[in-house]
Structures are given as C-alpha cells and as structure tokens.
C-alpha cells in the first residue's frame, strides 16, 4: 500500500489503460456534432484526411475489430501519457533551473502578465 501511495501515478496510468481496454463497449451512435451534421445535411462536407495513421481508432492490419480498437486505445493512452509527462517534465526542469539562480528584481518574466 505504501508503495502504491508513492507510485500513485503508476496506478493512475494503469487505470487509464483499463478504461482504454473497455473502449469496444463504446456507443456506436454518432456524437452530438455528427448528429447535427447528419440531420441538417452538411455531414458530406467532411473531407477525407490527407493521411491515415490509426484512423477510426482501429489499429491497422488486425481483423478483429474489438482487438484493433483496444490496441489503438492502449497505444494512444501510452503516447498521450508520454507526450504530456515529457512536456511537463521539460517545463519543470526549465523552471527549477531558473530558480537555482537568484532572480534579479527587474526580471521581466515575473511581471510579464501579472
């Protein structure tokens, strides 16, 4: 339990991955915007994307649609986690570096938008 408390973010990531595994249970109905676009007759204005990577949340090359959805969801969850963790880690590192040095009172960074 103590280890879980220290590494709470590992538990959080596992929870997010568990939600991704549930993704085949998602409602197949169009979402609110798609519903309005269909009812009002402008859904056909939607253009095909210029490239496709994992379009429609289906991992390419996998026949079983549920498995393809789960794999896409797991991959996306890991990528989003890594991207945001990395981005905020970089911001944090920059911040602690600038805090190591004494900040001159006229530092414009502190007053830029306060």
């Amino acid at each position: 339990m103590n280890r879980l408390r220290r590494n709470w973010w590992v538990a959080g990531l596992l929870l997010a991955l568990a939600v991704a595994v549930l993704s085949p249970l998602a409602s197949p109905h169009p979402d609110g915007l798609e519903r309005v676009a269909e009812d009002q007759g402008f859904i056909d204005r939607a253009q095909d994307p210029p490239f496709r990577v994992i379009a429609d949340y289906l991992f390419p090359g996998i026949q079983d649609e549920r498995l393809a959805t789960i794999l896409a969801g797991l991959l996306g969850t890991v990528i989003v986690f890594a991207l945001v963790f990395g981005l905020s880690w970089l911001i944090r590192r920059r911040r602690s570096r600038s805090h190591d040095r004494p900040v001159p009172p006229s530092d414009p960074g502190l007053h830029a938008d306060s």
Binding site: A20, P49, V53, V80, F81
Partner: protein, 221 residues
C-alpha cells in the same frame, strides 16, 4: 464534438488557429511559473485518462452519443493553464494519429475544448467552491456544473464557428448544438463528479493541487 476538416471555411479555421495559438502561448507562460513537482505525473495521468475516456462514447438519446471532454476535470485537478496544455495535447494526438478532428480544424477544436471548455470549467468550479466552501457536496455540485457548462459552452463555440462558416443558420445551429450537448453535458457532469469522488477517497491531496498552483501564482509579487 471534434470538428472534421471541411465543415469550417479556411478563414474561420485560420482565425481559430490564431486565437488558440495566442491562448496556448499565454497558458505556457503561466504554467512555466507555477508547475510543481507533483503536477508533472498528474498531468501525464490526467491526459492519459481523458484520452481513454474520450473513446468511451455513451448513448444519450435518439441514436446519438457523447463522450467525456475532460476540460472541467483537467482544470479542477491541474488549474486552468496546465489543463489547457493537457487538453491541447490530447486533441493534437487525436488529430495527427487517429484522424479524429481535422488538421485545419485543430485550431477550432483546441479553441472550443482546450480553451473554452477548460476555462469555463475552472471558472464555474472556482466560483461555486468559493460560495459553498469545500464540503464534499460543494465539490460535487461544483464539479457537476463545471462539467455540464464546459460542454455546453464548448458546443456553442463550435456552433458559432459553423454559423460563421455558413454551414448552418445561427437560429438552427445554436438550438440544435446547444440542445444535444445539454444532454451530453449531464454525462460529463456525472463522470467528472465520479472521478472527484473516487479521488476524494483514495488521494484527497490531489484535489487541492489545481487550486494550489493557481494561488501560488497569485502570491507572486
């Protein structure tokens, strides 16, 4: 409510990109000043959870579904500016890798969900918890209304972009988008409260990080 390419005119798309770029630049400057050590993993986990939860559409009514946007949740857990960065990251990965939401339309989707959705969620939650205090029911009432209104106003922002693009008349797009998302927003409110209630039991300290980030910034001279 991820807008695909083709729904908006190029002019509206570029204007939305400009507004989003400005908002993001501001969010980055603010986060640069306030990001705490413990927020680094919390930002990653929140983003991962929102991405996964956005895949889980729930049926609302008449063959229509909705899914969590997570703007209010991110704002409550992380503060408004870190929340904006989290939602923007989720939307960017969805557009680039999953072809969910257009590329030219990404500026509009960031504006609606990462800026309007997050900031409205933050404003409502802050206002209500200041009025009602930090008792459990006040957190939950604040979370529900923040979730509901963040979805409703994000949908109305999307409706405005559609109207400005000439896709639909104002008097049609505002009630249709506003009406269906008033229902989807109930799901948003319920999920937001469920996550807050869960965290309140397992890690109540995480519920105060967002406000701490904001108030540590306010105390900067």
């Amino acid at each position: 409510m991820h807008i695909p390419d083709g729904f908006l005119t190029t002019g509206v798309s570029i204007a939305a990109w400009a507004a989003s770029a400005g908002g993001l630049g501001y969010a980055l400057r603010r986060v640069n000043k306030t990001l705490g050590e413990r927020q680094v993993p919390l930002m990653g986990v929140t983003a991962a959870f929102i991405f996964a939860a956005q895949m889980l559409n729930f049926t609302v009514i008449g063959g229509t579904s909705g899914h969590l946007l997570g703007g209010a949740l991110a704002a409550i857990l992380l503060g408004p500016w870190a929340g904006t960065l989290v939602l923007t990251s989720v939307l960017t990965v969805q557009a680039l890798l999953f072809q969910d939401g257009g590329l030219l339309a990404l500026g509009a989707n960031v504006f609606n969900m990462a800026l309007v959705g997050v900031l409205v969620g933050w404003a409502v939650y802050t206002l209500l918890t200041r009025l009602l205090g930090s008792r459990a029911w006040a957190l939950f009432a604040g979370g529900f209304l923040a979730g509901w209104l963040s979805v409703e106003l994000a949908a109305l922002a999307a409706a405005a972009e559609l109207a400005l693009s000439g896709a639909l008349a104002w008097q049609v797009v505002v009630p249709t988008m506003g009406g269906i998302h008033a229902l989807i927003g109930v799901g948003e409110g319920v999920i937001t409260v469920a996550v807050l209630a869960f965290l309140r039991v397992v890690r109540p300290d995480l519920l105060t990080l967002g406000r701490a980030a904001q108030s540590s910034e306010e105390s900067v001279p």
